[in-house]
Amino acid sequence: MGLRCGIAVFPGTWSERDCAHAVELAGGEPVMLWHAERDLKGSDLVILPGGFAHGDYLRAGAIARFAPLMAAVEGHAAAGGPVLGICNGFQILCEAGLLPGALLRNSCLQFRCQSTHLRVETDASPFLSGLGVGRVLEIPISHGEGRYYAPPEQLAQLEAAGRVALRYCGPGGELGDAHNPNGSLHHIAGVLNAAGNVLGMMPHPERACEPLLGSADGLPLFQAALRQLARA
């Protein structure tokens, strides 16, 4: 039996099944975690998937972060357990203070679902280890509020500490506004917590796990984390 990957389900979450499929492809065992419970059901790794938890009505993730499950997720993260927040999951992690910054309305003021290229900026995270710094991944986005923002000092600290995990880029890894789909500061697509075990990213790696669907570049993120857990 594979390692247990808990997948949080809030009312309004919609990529839990996609994440479960990705976890299976990576050799893990998906376990659904209900927002109203505090139990991680023995999860080795926790995924906060995409969707519109509680409708994202006030601010994306604002209400979800108070879910009983989030207390358990915080505990898991504090103990060094890997946590991956995808899209809405990233927004929730920011609202919960597990990751710095906030995600604002896309600068184009439209929802965007499209393929993007991401440059791996560090390998100091279970989800990125072995991927290779500088590697370019093709992974789609699907969000209306993904413009990463952090106050200037905090942003500088994040950069200095190497906690920017992924940046939007062109197919060759080049940076530029033309490749930034939402106006994120410093082209940031994903960030890490200080210890590197919590990764939040707006793009959807779970949608890029099979060549049949256009890209398999998201699968290595799941595989890397499972590999590291298996070694530990």
């Binding site: 990529s15 439209q110 679902c113 499209q114 049949l212 669907l213």
Partner: protein, 745 residues
Amino acid sequence: MSPAPLTPTASELRELALTEAEYRRALDLLGRAPNRLELGMLGALWSEHCSYKTSRPLLSRLGSTGPQVVVGPGENAGVVDLGGDLLCCFKIESHNHPSAIEPVQGAATGVGGILRDVFAMGARPVAILDALRFGDLGDASQRHRFAKVVEGVGFYGNCVGVPTVGGETYFDPAYAGNCLVNAMCVGLARRDQLLHAVARGVGNPVLLVGADTGRDGIHGATFASVQLDEQAEGRRPAVQVGNPFLEKCLLEACLELAGHPAVIGLQDCGAAGLTSSCAEMAQRGGVGIALDLDKVARRESGMTPYEVMLSESQERMVLVVERGRESEVRAVFDRWELRSDVIGKVIADPELRLSSAGEEVARLPLEVLVDGFMPRHPPRSRPAEVAARLEADPLALEPRWPLEESWLRLLASPNCGDTAWIYRQYDHQVGDDTVAGPGGDAAVLRLRGRPDGLALTVDGAHRSAVLDPRRGTQLAVAEALRNLACAGAEPLALTNCLNFGDPDQEEVMWQLDEAVAGLAEAARELGVPVVSGNVSLYNDLSGAGIPPTPVVGMVGRVEQVRRSPGAAFSRSGDLVYLLGPEGAELGGSELQRLAQGEVLGPPPALDLGLELRVARAVAAAVGGAIARSAHDSSLGGRAVTLAESCVAGGLGAEVELPSPGPGSPRGWWWGVLFGETSGRYLLSVDPGSEAELVGICRREGAPHRLVGTVGGEAISIRGVVSIPLAAAAAARAGSLEGPMAAALT
């Protein structure tokens, strides 16, 4: 019974959409005068919207049977068998009027409604498609409306987490006063999860779940002057604001209950709200329903029974549950933080019985309420003006633009160009099954754990329908078939949305009659049963009606799902084949409309037998991975099809087409390049696979001809005209982006 019966005035009847004759019929059938509430309910259920009193007599002509059909028209959605215990459930619906009043919410609630139709059957929605019509994009208000409708469709689907995988969009000044917003939803269910909208078992409780009931959508069909005080109009919202989050929870809860032994029937609350949902469920089960209106949770205080029964508040469902097991069912809704209330029960007498404050406030036999409406047979006649249009001969005219300019103009027209501006605002991937999303001919979804998949498309053909509604409707069916063929799919069944003007105009009624005849004929000839649909009449808000606009949604099956280049040429040196009929014509084509400003000439030729043979050949060539690319020719004709395959693949091509014979008309080359004769495709093949392709075409009896080769930086018709690949790409890329960059948000 109170309140007392009344004698309505003519204007009061008009507000209820009832005629004097219908009122007399109500008196007759009931043997008494109905009270206000009863009359309001009759007005709503006897309205065109609910009863199809004008279109139903026509729709019986449609063939809806086949070995694959599990549920045909008459339920919330049609259902076909995919084999191996899996069913596919789908339907299309219009939300034209609401979208004209408030485009974001109108479009959003249109998507919400069609999703409910599908999950009411116990099927998980897996795809949405939308068919849109607006006026010219040169007009700022049309740009605004278009932008807002797209935002609304995206908002609802994105939030609920159902991918919008396809659609079609067309701009024509004829829709300036009446935009069209049709949404189609496709769902999947295991056979044992299929639910029906039926009430059974006397004594079983009736539940209302989801949103609270507000004063939404109680418009014309009310006694504003009689029943409500003067501020009443201001208390009623003209627009319903949808709550996709609530819908998502409702969807999950209902699907958890699909197949649950305690659930007897499930129905969404659509037009005419509780009145139609309860009446139809009871009617299907041969029982009645008694409701205690005080049990209905309300969004506002002071609502009358009338308002409760006719409210069209979104995101509500009605359930009939086995007595004694309410708590099991309600526990599921509780878990999803959804309100559920027992509001009534099933009774033996086939009637709808309503009470409030301990008193009976209405009692109507279902045979009166549901079946008592008066079928209408308004007169129809073919307008003389049509004959004059048909007589025009666009091919004989001096062409307005040179070939090269015509070609580039078509590519730059928002009707032919790149639609990414639309679909990048739609999540078209959620669910992780989208193998081919929007932008190609048909969308393809895989079916988890199986080698096969679904191909989906939605198509309309109003230009030709203006000239000949029968042919136009058939052309829409043919185009849908071609799109499926390009994905390598065999059709399973179709759904349709008939968008027309005011049927009390003889011309419109004639159009409707002809369109249904054409649909029936095409569906029969092509062997594709019609399993669901919707009719939207009175699309004449601005006084001018729309062109007849039949829209066809088709679902097909792909035997072996694989990633394919689709329409895109993928390798230099591949051979380009043209399949289908030859010939030159321009009538009813996009170029003809652009050049002359109105649609004229004979509509594009269509031979249904040939159409089917060529489609089979294409499906076989694509399905067998013999064709490297396949793209059907529709809007803009062969030249646009060729340019699209080139631009999509980033490769040029050179093709040769037969030269005109002596005595060919002036516009002959225009007709060859831009004519929209049905049944044509461009395929590319590896030279090594040529023999196989030819073999398939011979076997299926499909006309085919090698016309050229992929490669180079130009798209050229040898010896006739050539455009640079880059120019074609730029024209196409800017067709929507250009005008929409100027849209106010």
